[in-house]
């Protein structure tokens, strides 16, 4: 055990994760606007400018933004060490990253050169990646979390390095048109490596912790993150030299068995109070099961082009909206009130007379609003899948995206304002 890494009281200032959480919905809303105006084209090909722009707005602007913010909070608890970036550093990082993402999307839409995006994203993402890897390697502890989180971050680093190589190549044309397998590796590392590996690792901790379920089976906890990492590396090597059907099928099997195991854990939860976060988890895990099944189906239909629609795209949207955005929103419903309560409690310790002013969990984000968010999100998922078959519905997807993430932004923003107000009241009590 690394005693040096044991830092129990190193949770970051509240404004650090909240800046990430309040920035991410803006990118989702921007995606919604793009979908309203040019959305129908995304179903034509994954190489369409609008497809590339919206994919990266969501992957970097929404998903990575929220995951980065959460890592600031989770690393001290799960790995006993903070990310050594203060509030000012976080503002600089978020600004560089946000402008980088905007420039990247503009470049995909052929409104700008790739150089500004390359410059801004390399400064922000590479420096953050190096700090994360250094922190996890030298300072972190926590048997079940340190290495899997490190593997997820390595996957992120590989995804970014590949992405930068593509941008450089777009800009210089040095290698000409790159074979498709390079972008497949980039996409597989980003979605299944960085995002899924991190979700799986965090779920091992937060599902038993937040929902009081039995622990995940040790075999799954010990082997699945490593298994997924090794399979993804094998997949990348195989993609370069031959077909990779067996590895893809193994990855799909691993993801499906994880989803079944996690759904089983949730069904065994001991808590009895109704909880919308559970619904978000169930939606996410069910979507992962569907994606795994479709991944295998896709292996048998790739060459024959038997389907009148792109199964690739359907798997992609179910993964992003169904798996990832579900779990992210469910976790935000839980984490936002929790963090506010935690920080207010600590403040109230200094002003015991104000202890009676402490809000409870649902006074920060009401159960009613949580339920409404779930139904809007579920509606978005249904319509986004339908729009693969009826492209004209994509405009509606854009509108729902704006409503969904506008509502979430409002909830987080109100929660933060309530925190500031109650903190002041406690000081004055």
């Amino acid at each position: 055990m690394r005693l040096s890494g044991l830092q129990f009281d190193n949770i970051p200032a509240l404004n650090i994760p909240f800046r990430f959480y309040l920035t991410a919905p803006i990118f989702a809303i921007l995606t919604g606007v793009l979908l309203i105006f040019w959305g129908e084209q995304i179903w034509l090909s994954r190489w369409m400018p609008i497809t590339l722009a919206t994919t990266h707005l969501i992957a970097l602007g929404v998903v990575a933004m929220i995951m980065f913010g959460s890592l600031f909070q989770l690393l001290p608890v799960l790995c006993g060490t903070p990310i050594p970036i203060n509030s000012k550093g976080a503002i600089v990082f978020i600004s560089l990253l946000s402008f980088g993402i905007l420039c990247l999307s503009a470049a995909f839409l052929q409104q700008l050169s790739f150089l500004p995006a390359l410059f801004l994203l390399s400064i922000s993402l590479l420096s953050f990646g190096v700090i994360l890897i250094y922190t996890l390697w030298f300072n972190a502890s926590g048997f079940y979390t340190r290495t899997p989180v490190l593997l997820a971050v390595i996957m992120l680093a590989l995804t970014i390095i590949l992405g930068f190589s593509f941008l450089l190549n777009y800009q210089t044309g040095y290698f000409g048109a790159l074979p498709k397998y390079w972008t497949n590796i980039h996409a597989a590392f980003g979605t299944l490596g960085w995002v899924t590996l991190l979700i799986i690792t965090i779920s091992f901790q937060v599902i038993p912790m937040f929902h009081v379920t039995p622990e995940f089976p040790v075999t799954i906890k010990n082997h699945y993150p490593f298994g997924l990492f090794i399979l993804l590396i094998s997949l990348a090597i195989e993609l370069l030299f031959s077909n990779s059907h067996v590895t893809f099928a193994l990855i799909a099997t691993l993801l499906a068995t994880y989803a079944i195991a996690a759904l089983k854990q949730l069904s065994l939860r001991k808590r009895k109070l109704p909880d919308t976060t559970i619904k978000f988890w169930q939606l996410s895990l069910s979507s992962l099961l569907v994606c795994s099944f479709l991944l295998v189906v896709n292996l048998f239909t790739l060459s024959s082009k038997q389907l009148p629609f792109s199964l690739d795209s359907i798997i992609g949207v179910i993964f992003v909206v169904g798996v990832v955005l579900s779990v992210i929103q469910g976790m935000l419903l839980k984490i936002v009130p929790f963090l506010i309560t935690l920080h207010l409690q600590q403040h109230a310790m200094k002003y015991p007379m104000g202890m009676g002013l402490m809000p409870d969990h649902y006074a920060i984000i009401s159960r009613q609003h949580g339920k409404q968010l779930y139904w809007i999100h579920l509606g978005t998922l249904v319509i986004v899948v339908m729009s693969a078959f009826i492209p004209s519905l994509t405009k509606l997807v854009g509108i729902l995206f704006i409503i969904n993430w506008g509502f979430l932004w409002l909830m987080i923003s109100r929660a933060y304002n309530a925190f500031s107000r109650i903190k002041l009241d406690i000081s004055n009590a």
């Binding site: 055990m1 005693l3 044991l6 129990f8 009281d9 608890v77 799960l78 006993g80 502890s141 926590g142 048997f143 901790q205 912790m209 937040f210 009081v212 001991k270 808590r271 009895k272 109070l273 109704p274 839980k334 009130p337 929790f338 309560t341 935690l342 409690q345 600590q346 109230a348 310790m349 202890m355 009676g356 402490m358 809000p359 409870d360 969990h361 649902y362 006074a363 159960r367």
Partner: protein, 145 residues
Amino acid sequence: MSDIQHYMTTHHRDCDEILADAESPLAEGDWAGYQQKWRAFVSELLHHLTMEEEVLFPAFEQATGITQGPTMVMRSEHEQMRAFVAQMEQAIASQDQERAMGLVESLVLLIQQHNMKEEQMLYPMCDMRLPDNASTLAQMQSVTR
């Protein structure tokens, strides 16, 4: 799993079960049933905090010489739990179901993240660093409720 970690982790799980059990009558609005089960939980929770504050933490501090580190944070979180318990008494008195549900949620999250830190770091450190685990464990078990 070694002595202290095993004993204290098992007690954490027992407390979780008792609190989860109390959620049923709360969700149904059965205040008499909830009050009874909530009190059972509070009794077990306070017993756990006392075992740590009066026996385990002093033993850890003495063995390691660290008094301003993990145990200080743990004590502060214990105070936060006691504050939630006090607020719940008011919610029970006014039969405010939304407030009580919100307080249970806040308390569960606080306890769970607190337990995780203890189980993953503090208890293994105690088992590793304390000169006589068996004696410390016996002292904790002899703490009266």
